[in-house]
Symmetry: C2
Subunit: 443 residues, 2 copies
């Protein structure tokens, strides 16, 4: 019996997320991203497909590295325009019962107390279905938008994030004790002040504004794959999102993360792009059809930003000197690992398939199901964050074609487990347990 595979949809409140140019396909509906119905429809389809969650990415700046301008990103709608992802969740929660929501929020620029209240609010409103993908940002354009000259250095961003986590854990787990909410109409006592504590942590002094939500702390996601990022994940994360790479590399990262986090369990989701047809031939036809809409300019604007390199400054075969990058450290390391230190813009562009460096997995339901099962067996990963191609048909194909094929092989659930997002993911209680640092605030 293969292990159970878990699926998240990997999306973003924008038009071009990973596969750039797809919005120009006549069937693609991603330009409806401003409409609530677009998101509630997506949420219902995901729940039909028994997806564990919808993972929403976010950035708080624009991609202006390529040519030193945001022009390519704007033309190709590369993660701009972009809405606030948290605000999509309440309407989707009202339209579903089980789907989890993993929302990316940058913790570098907002007071921990307000961030903590937002997540507690969503945990209440979703009845325990919220997760937080903790990011620290990588864009100088974001820092300037916040009134700063530039962002702090890579590892300093993680140090600042540790302070935010301290404050947030204090508020979520330490401020309102067990039994603090009495809601006793006859006695006229809602909360017992003896069980509510002023928390001093991470530089703040506050009572959490929210009473305890079903999970208290949201399910914690993290995606940093650098040395510093992995140390942060080992301390905080319950789920880790890895960018796609070779099975060997993923297996190594999974083993490393699990060893670092032990005895805490870690769920690992790997990025993947699927093109599914009823048959392999139909899937390959779809790939050719979609490819005609891929945008190299969009992919290059995106890669410039996430690697911290202005590719307009380099000829196609000129080695790319990336020494000055203060962006996503693990991305730069990955390029050098795969192509050697003298890698060029041509190496990058040759990777692009659907307007992205993410190579799609193309095939009929059986073929793709078996490839995903084999990948999880080989790597120890728990499942996949599936990025979108043409919306909504790519998600409908997962629900209608892939999920039954996985179910037939005993590799996919046939119904949701009861309880909160954390209970569905780990099969234990709704709250973080020791030795997670958040749990130390309780009892």
């Amino acid at each position: 019996m293969p292990r159970e595979i878990r699926l998240n949809a990997f999306d973003m409140a924008c038009i071009g997320h990973i596969q750039h140019g797809m919005w120009t396909h006549p069937r693609d509906r991603s330009t409806d991203y401003r409409r609530l119905e677009y998101w509630t429809g997506l949420a219902r389809t995901l729940e039909r497909g028994l997806f564990d969650g919808l993972f929403l990415a976010d950035v708080v700046g624009v991609y202006d590295l390529l040519g030193g301008r945001p022009d390519a990103a704007l033309r190709q709608a590369v993660q701009v325009p972009l809405l606030d992802p948290m605000l999509l969740v309440p309407a989707m929660a009202a339209a579903t019962r089980h789907l989890g929501f993993g929302v990316t929020v940058n913790c570098s620029y907002e007071p921990a107390a307000l961030l903590a209240r937002r997540f507690s609010t969503l945990d209440h409103l979703t009845e325990g279905r919220i997760g937080w993908n903790i990011v620290t940002g990588y864009l100088d354009s974001a820092a300037r938008a916040m009134g700063l000259a530039a962002q702090p250095a890579h590892d300093d961003r993680y140090a600042a994030a540790e302070t935010v986590m301290d404050a947030a854990y204090g508020l979520w787990e330490g401020s309102w004790g067990e039994g603090a909410v009495r809601a006793d109409r006859a006695a006229g006592v809602y909360a017992d002040p003896m069980r509510v504590r002023l928390v001093r942590a991470g530089g703040i002094e506050a009572i959490h504004l929210c009473e305890p939500s079903p999970q208290r702390t949201p399910v914690l996601y993290q995606a940093g794959a650098s040395e510093r990022g992995r140390a942060f994940a080992a301390r905080h994360a319950e789920c880790v999102f890895l960018n796609p790479s070779s099975p060997e590399n993923v297996a190594r990262l999974v083993a490393d993360l699990r060893a670092r986090a032990a005895p805490r369990p870690i769920r690992v989701f790997v990025g993947a792009t699927l093109i599914l047809g009823r048959t392999g031939a139909e899937a390959r036809d779809l790939l050719e059809e979609y490819r005609r809409h891929a945008s190299t300019e969009g992919a290059l604007a995106h890669a410039s930003a996430s690697l911290g390199i202005d590719f307009d400054r380099f000829g196609l075969d000129e080695p790319v000197a990336a020494t000055g990058s203060n962006a996503i450290a693990s991305n730069v390391e990955a390029m050098a690992r795969v192509f050697g230190p003298g890698w060029t813009k041509r190496h990058l562009i040759d990777q692009f398939v659907l307007g992205s460096r993410q190579k799609p997995l193309v095939g009929g339901p059986d073929e793709v199901a078996e490839a995903l099962i084999a990948f999880c067996e080989a790597t120890g990963a728990d499942g996949f964050n599936l990025s979108r191609t043409i919306m909504p048909e790519c998600i409908e194909a997962v629900a209608d074609l892939l999920v039954p094929a996985l179910q037939e092989r005993g590799a996919y659930k046939r119904g949701y487990a009861p309880g909160s997002y954390r209970e569905k993911l780990f099969g234990a209680g709704p709250l973080l347990a020791p030795p997670h640092p958040a749990a130390a605030w309780r009892g």
Copy 2:
């Protein structure tokens, strides 16, 4: 023909908002504030009653002035626990078509770029039904929760707010020009970079992350009644919320605000609490029934915080020295104006009726309708922000009893006007027009 009266529901994502203790009434459902269905049900009732909007209050600290502790506020659920109000809007928007949403957000503690993105997101998702009640806060407990020692002085908070407004207007109105969004699939161009501008304003440098929303700038509410608050309102506000006071005082404030803002129109909403019965006798019975649940402790905790005075330090008949207050300046001024400079705690407590200083207007539909019409005639106010007593019966009574009585008198609409919140309020276009400072960023 009397002028048209407009109604907002005045609410907050908490249990005790204005009328403290009402949650202990067996029919009150305000303890369901954590459930989406509570809010979507409220929104549907408001739309049935043709309310212009739902006005959501907010604070980002706790009421810990009374006795120097938050105990009374916690016991009586006085605006704590409290959810983030913005996150209630998307589900309510999905459940309605016309209702507007005026959301209070404190602009003292969050980056303008993120605040601007949140409002643009809500303006998109609601299809142009969002408003912002601009506040600067008044609680030292909030400042400490943000990692500060104390909040800035009253007038300095308004000066900081001017900087935030500059940045927000630049982003909403100046960053994406007319025609910037081409969404041209054939040409493969979503946005025209020549029409998207990097905005430098209010200390930030940014491209707005969102494409233009229906209203660009949310409908701007303001509630400050101090000298500095009125100057701010005259420059920025489209709607002003006034606390209830005598018709003479309201008339004076309305005239002053309109003179300061001219030629810009200002809509003025006055706080009110109604107890409606099918007859006057039934309403007076309800008042007596509700009164048994009023909490003096809750009202005192609330008043302590909003006046910036610890009433535990004063005997009942001891003159209250408020010279040190750095809270809501206009509240302190109002007490001295009504009761003289030697006012005491007894003056305050004698005002409490339903766990609040807000005196309810009690009567049958005709009686209340005529009183509201007379008040608007005498003051020039446009309508009322109706605070709640027992939920949801107090709102259902407005929709079912008061609205028909107002309609019979020609003082209430019989259907919603078309268009965005701004169009419904002012009958002109969806965008702010000159001479409002936001409009200067366009064209």
